[in-house]
């Protein structure tokens, strides 16, 4: 049943009227028109749909929009500040840490979640944290390099 749901999205208040049981991924992509967050598996296995909720990386395909009520949601679109790339975005581009780029928003958001919690992760910590974000093009090596570079810059 449609209900009023309010939360903060990329630093702006949003209000929408929808069924709170719907998954955040689809609400972002359809109702809110934020298409950077991607569907890859729909069941929490691939990480393409990763967003930040209250400073934690979460998989938006498995989180209902009702449960983010009053929370602070950041998507790939909210990472640039004043038209400037976030250090992670910059590092991904500079390291060529992507090929098709489909997994990239999820990778960046997941790494962002890691750096919020742990600004100087070790190689092993990066591997561990990124483990369940899948990249079929296999840009893994460069993604790790990019996260290391970004963490040094932040």
């Amino acid at each position: 049943m449609p209900e009023l749901i309010e939360f903060k999205l990329n630093d702006k208040a949003v209000k929408l009227n929808t069924d709170g049981e719907r998954m955040l991924l689809w609400v972002l992509r359809t109702d809110l028109g934020l298409l950077g967050t991607k569907y890859g598996c729909g069941e929490g296995f691939c990480g393409s749909c990763t967003v930040i909720i209250n400073n934690k990386a979460e998989r938006s395909c498995g989180i209902t929009v009702g449960s983010v009520r009053g929370k602070d949601v950041i998507t790939i679109e909210g990472l640039m500040k004043n038209g400037k790339l976030h250090p992670l975005q910059k590092a991904f581009a500079e390291h060529d840490a992507l090929q098709c780029g489909y997994c990239t928003p999820g990778m960046i958001m997941n790494a962002y979640g890691l750096l919020i919690r742990n600004p100087n992760p070790s190689y092993d910590e990066i591997i561990n944290e990124m483990e369940n974000n899948l990249c079929r093009c296999s840009a893994h090596k460069r993604i790790v390099d990019a996260v290391q570079t970004a963490s040094a810059k932040m």
Partner: protein, 720 residues
């Protein structure tokens, strides 16, 4: 090598005006300078193939435009799916034309704006498409020089070009820009003769590393994939699927779903779909359909498939036959006979197949994730019974393909649904549908019998491959008596062979063939008691193979060993694909208790001729290596009676971060040699190198891929 050889093509003037009238082509794209070109003789076989299928190619393949702002655009039916040609093709143009790389734009995969193209696969873009593309750019440069010469009143020899500006060498202020030259004009040229291309020593942009030109769009989330195209009033469709390949629909009860608000239900013969403005609501609605299916008649599964394939194989084709295998057998001191098995693998791009279709009057436009938009166009036209010029396919960025996005069912479905509903319709496959409708890498078998003589040389080689095809099947070693035969097709085999669709999977067939050949060679080396690297070198005269093997050996720090196994866990393999020659050495560790293989280090050397974008080529090698770990160690489509048991990534393991070995790649510096394929070669050696390393570690031979923990434990228990 000189340009003459570099550009081994004949250019002919093409008079047919490329269907301009029909499409009002030039009207759409405005003024400027156009150079039309065709990929000539080198692609002759592709065009033949196309004719065989009754499709007529337009007689030029691409063209280049320098518009009135001096911006350069290449229109090509090729697509970008991560392999990086959006950068490397632009590099070729920029270098030949003397413009900055960022002033070149690639317009790719739009069937109304781009001339016909067969599709993007087979590592062919740079090899076959590159030379004519360069020639077109060189031609454009000559035309611009001629125009500038007139305007500046200076003979061409006294002019120079830099970043889109033509100036007099001795008086730099006397200059004119490309934009000024093309302003208000419409100049159309076909390439008539081979223009003079730059010599590699003159390259400023080619053979230099550039990061991807599309990366900013992709790291900001702005890059548009097919699922990101939004049209007003569009609906998302979910389609009723059979539980198994070959299961027939008996009855579908739509009464429940028809009661739902805002849900549109479509039934058109075999196609039953529910549509809603939200994909998640459509998905829920689909669950309300109660459908009955007759079970599939297929009785095949992962275990009985090989027996079945052998039965279906029919007569083989001789691929190569030299000497006399019987004679060779007689002269053998020992003979090794082995059978190798490979499994069905999924392409599994992270972007599942997706398409948005829209009908506007009698014109259908589909944005689809496809590797072959022009094929998709014909497929849609056929399915809808409309003329093919009424169909336009636009290819946004493709989120990975690997050979898989060459079957375009989702595009056809979206097109049918838009025609039936009159609304824009998105068909975005779920992960489960993506697995189900993939055209898998085929399961295959290779039987090899080979012998060694008293002088520790291979005396004969009898190689039979079933259902992997010929790519990579014939060997390159010096063996006096040898026969290679191929049974069944490597892709899209006849009905009843495979229980579902199969197709080209990154370096099709070559992963299987290289696995079998290089494992067998390793066994022969151990029989001969010769270090596996030395043994290979002893049997090679082809300089390219010798060089890549030695280069990889040196980088790895290979030291000859005459113990079998040596216990070090080192494995080696080499092969050739898409004109590129590759050698790989890996180091593995195996946990005997769990059967887990950890690939610790991979050294890979390849000779790919000139690398247009060395960094891009390196990334492709890294990707090949990492992706190769999957088919080697875990990836196997599980199926039973037509049902695909892999529905998501929880039981289909693709490589993850923790698998990442130390990767060291070397691209031999071959500036003066023509470019060869880069997107596939390095994947072919991964399986054999790992199998050989596992043997070197533990003394067990894994003849079946993937080399899963269970299979390793089983081999260990057999060995005792």
């Amino acid at each position: 090598m000189k340009n003459e050889n570099y550009l081994d093509l004949n250019f002919k003037d093409i008079h047919a005006p490329f269907e301009v009238d029909r499409r009002d082509f030039l009207k759409i794209i405005g003024g400027g300078l156009f150079v039309l070109f065709t990929v000539g003789d080198t692609l002759g076989y592709i065009q033949q193939e196309q004719r065989r299928r009754g499709e007529l190619p337009t007689d030029f393949n691409s063209f280049l435009r320098i518009d009135e702002d001096g911006k350069v655009t290449c229109f090509t039916g090729k697509i970008e799916m991560g392999q990086g040609i959006i950068t490397s093709l632009a590099q070729m143009i920029a270098d030949e034309l003397d413009v900055a790389l960022d002033s070149v734009q690639m317009l790719m995969g739009d069937t109304d704006l781009c001339p016909w193209d067969m599709g993007t696969f087979g590592s062919m873009s740079t090899r076959f498409f590159g030379p004519p593309l360069r020639a077109a750019a060189a031609e454009a440069r000559i035309i611009l020089l001629e125009l500038a010469s007139e305007q500046l009143k200076v003979p061409i020899e006294k002019l120079s070009v830099d970043k889109g500006v033509i100036y007099e060498k001795t008086k730099k202020r006397n200059k004119v820009t490309f934009a000024e030259l093309t302003k208000g004009k419409k100049i159309e040229r076909h390439i008539k003769e081979k223009p003079v291309l730059k010599d590699p020593s003159q390259f400023k942009i080619m053979n230099k590393s550039y990061t991807r030109v599309d990366s900013i769009e992709k790291v900001t989330g702005k890059a548009k994939f097919s699922g990101d195209i939004i049209l007003p009033g569009m609906l998302y469709a979910k389609i009723l699927r059979p539980p198994a390949h070959g299961a027939k629909l008996v009855d579908a009860d739509l009464s429940e779903v028809k009661k739902m608000n805002d849900v549109i239900v479509v039934q058109d013969n075999d196609l039953i779909a529910v549509l809603h403005k939200y994909p998640d609501v459509a998905e829920k609605a689909l669950l309300k359909i109660k459908a009955k299916f007759l079970p599939s008649e297929s009785k095949l599964n992962n275990e009985n498939i090989y027996e079945h394939l052998i039965k279906m194989a029919g007569d083989g084709r001789v691929v190569v036959n030299t000497g006399d295998v019987k004679e060779g057998e007689k002269g053998s001191a020992s003979i090794v006979e082995e059978t190798y098995y490979d499994s069905y693998c999924a392409h599994s791009p992270i972007e599942p197949r997706t398409a948005l279709a829209n009908v506007d009057g009698d014109k259908i436009t589909v944005w689809g994730s496809t590797q072959n938009p022009f094929t998709a166009k014909e497929e849609v036209a056929r399915a809808l019974g409309v003329a093919s010029e009424k169909v336009r396919i636009i290819t946004p960025y493709v989120g990975g393909g690997f050979g898989g996005k060459t079957t375009n069912l989702q595009i056809v479905e979206a097109a049918r649904l838009t025609k039936l509903t009159g609304k824009p319709v998105m068909v975005a496959y779920t992960r489960e549908e993506e697995f189900f409708f993939d055209a898998f890498h085929p399961a295959a078998i290779v039987k090899v019998r080979s012998g060694i003589n008293e002088s520790k040389e291979i005396s004969f080689w009898d190689y039979k491959v079933y259902f992997a095809g010929e790519r990579g099947a014939s060997h390159f070693y010096n063996i006096p008596n040898s026969i290679t035969k191929s049974y069944g097709s490597g892709r899209g085999s006849a009905a009843n062979v495979h229980p579902f669709a199969t197709g080209a999977w990154r370096a099709p067939g070559n992963n299987t063939n290289t696995f079998a050949r290089e494992c067998q060679i390793d066994i022969m080396a151990s029989k001969a008691g010769i270090d596996p690297l030395e043994f290979r070198l002893n049997h090679l005269t082809d300089k390219k193979f010798i060089e890549v093997l030695k280069t990889a050996g040196k980088k790895f720090g290979w030291k000859s060993s005459y113990a079998f196994p040596s216990g070090r866990g080192f494995g080696i393999a080499c092969g050739s694909d898409a004109g590129t020659v590759v050698a790989m050495i890996v180091e593995v560790d195996v946990n005997k208790k769990t059967g887990n293989v950890k690939v610790k280090r991979v050294v890979c050397a390849q000779n790919m001729g000139i690398a247009i974008n060395p960094q891009g080529a390196t990334i492709q090698m890294e990707g090949c290596i990492m992706m190769g770990l999957g088919y080697s160690l875990t990836e196997e489509v599980m199926f039973s009676n037509g049902e695909i048991l892999n529905k998501n990534y929880d039981n289909y393991d693709i490589p993850k971060f923790s698998w990442l070995p130390k990767i060291e790649t070397i691209i031999l510096d071959k500036k003066n040699e023509p470019p060869q394929g880069g997107g596939e070669p390095a994947i072919i050696t991964v399986g054999a190198a790992i199998a050989n390393a596992i043997y070197d570690k533990l003394g067990i031979r894994l003849n079946r891929m993937p080399m899963t923990p269970e299979r390793i434990k089983e081999a260990l228990s057999v060995k005792g």
